[in-house]
């Protein structure tokens, strides 16, 4: 069952088109990554999903319900972690958790809350305004989890978290995913997206430029880096390798064809080269290729 369905949504701020005809679907239980450079329209898209801002066009369904028509019903089943956590500074952490539960008309599982607080090393007696950026983020995470949401939407959730807390957060999120919870993650940290997400949507200048299944995407694409005084660009092109970057003494190629042919060619060329590296394409490579290619087209 789709948990998030975006159908040709767009958002206009005056003359500026921040999100332009974006459509994609997030299925139940998916760990979905949403990536793009700064100002690409990630937060605007999320704000429309959450009904923080009204869409200019298109249709949004969350948990099978139209938004904003069923906003309240949907919000009861969503947990949200903002990128910039600005909760009430005068309230103590325990009050913020209490208020969050009260808004959901829930008493909350005290043992579970204690477990989260212990795991994230949260002092519930402290006032929110006195906490550091990382600790504020932890409170937002706990507040997004305490009411057992079916969908967790997170905007840069690991900003300010130390590596230990980072690992603990994703351990909890993986646990939640196993229980059928859908996770929608927007992040600049491509490593964490690659490590945990099963599907990724790429957005740039308000337009969706691709959706990839990570399990399928990168294994079949190889990145070849050749170093040497005379780079065999033409020979590589003959076997179907695409040059993605060339500098003095170094060239990078992407290759999706027969590996035997690749290694045979590289073996023949090895005497003229100083170094050869063949790796699976990682998300960063994919991201850079996608966005640099688009940038090139734009220029």
């Amino acid at each position: 069952m789709p948990v998030i369905e975006l159908n040709h949504i767009s958002k206009r701020f005056g003359k500026f088109l921040a999100v332009n005809d974006v459509s994609f679907t997030v299925e139940q239980g998916e760990f979905f990554g949403f990536i793009g450079p700064n100002g690409a329209g990630k937060s605007t898209t999320m704000n429309m999903i959450l009904n923080f801002i009204k869409r200019s066009g298109g249709e949004i369904k969350v948990l099978g319900k139209n938004v904003p028509e069923h906003d309240l019903e949907v919000k009861k089943r969503i947990g949200y972690v903002p990128s910039d956590v600005r909760f009430y500074p005068q309230l103590r952490v325990q009050d913020l958790i209490r208020y969050t539960l009260d808004f959901h008309h829930m008493k909350g599982d005290q043992a579970e809350i204690a477990r989260y607080c212990d795991l994230f090393q949260i002092d519930v007696k402290k006032k929110f305004g006195n906490l550091s950026l990382g600790n504020k983020k932890k409170i937002a995470l706990v507040c997004a989890l305490v009411h057992h949401p079916e969908l967790i939407i997170m905007d840069e959730p690991t900003n300010g978290l130390d590596p230990l807390m980072h690992a603990r957060l994703f351990r909890i999120l993986k646990e939640k995913q196993k229980q059928g919870v859908t996770i929608f993650l927007s992040s600049h940290n491509l490593k964490e997206v690659e490590d945990y997400c099963s599907k990724i949507a790429f957005i740039r200048s308000g337009k969706l430029i691709g959706i990839e299944d990570l399990a399928q995407m990168n294994k079949k694409v190889k990145i070849i880096t050749l170093k040497g005084a005379h780079l065999p660009i033409e020979q590589m092109a003959l076997i179907g390798a695409t040059c993605i970057k060339k500098t003095d003494g170094e060239a990078r190629f992407s290759y999706e064809k027969n590996l035997t042919q690749l290694f045979s060619t590289l073996s023949n060329l090895s005497e003229t080269l100083d170094d050869v590296t063949v790796t699976n394409r990682d998300l960063e490579e994919q991201f850079m290729t996608m966005y640099e290619h688009q940038e090139g087209e734009r220029l």
Binding site: L72, K75, R86, Y88
Partner: protein, 266 residues
Amino acid sequence: MTLFRLECKTHIKTLLIWIIVVAALTVGLVSLFPAMKDMGLDQMKSLPKDMMKAFNLSDLGALTTIKGYFGYEYQYVMIATGIFAAMLGTNALAREEAEGTIGYLYAQPISRISIVGWKMAAHSILYTLYWLISMVVAFFTCVLFKESGASVSGLFKDFVQLSFTGWIMGLTFLAVGFLLSAILSSNKSATSLSLGLVFLTFIFGVVGKMNDDFETLIFFSPVDAALPSSVFKDGIEWKYIVTDLVVIVVSALLSLWIYRRKDLKV
């Protein structure tokens, strides 16, 4: 109800500060009455009549009674009360947007209409509490310092009427402030807007009183409709109260309508 509790908790300190300051001011001003009533007011008689009218001093003889003296002095507290109510309103929604706390609220299962509704309810209760306590303090202070022969029951009746008109005045400024708050996306200008709103409408009242051609302007002056000197003298002027009630209802409905359509500042 959760938002109502959250609002009350957030503003309780401000409320207490205002109550304490206004109570101290009231006691301080009224305690001067026994000394003031024995002072000659002859120098003031030389002031132009219109000016005396503008400052609600047309009847100098009344200043020798507690009702007359209180009626004159307390008009400045009424202006301060109007500013307090307007500031409660103008900060109600805009402050959350400026400080970013609205993001937390929007993520909770609560509709925009409920946000406005519960905030209006909480702020109205806070203002009502402030005004009731201020009136109780003012009444007992007046009883304590009144001239011999002044009737306590008469004073009580006048204070009941003043409590009502002052309450409506504050709610009017609160409602107009709320409307401004629904339009604004930052509370940076909230204080100056509140001051401007109260002083501008107060001036409308002054001009309306000084020049009969502009008498209609008094309808746009909630402070003037609730001035203790007028209420003690003429009782409740229902035409002004009805105008205030219309302003309250229209402002509340417009606030709801605007806020429902508003985008979160991102």
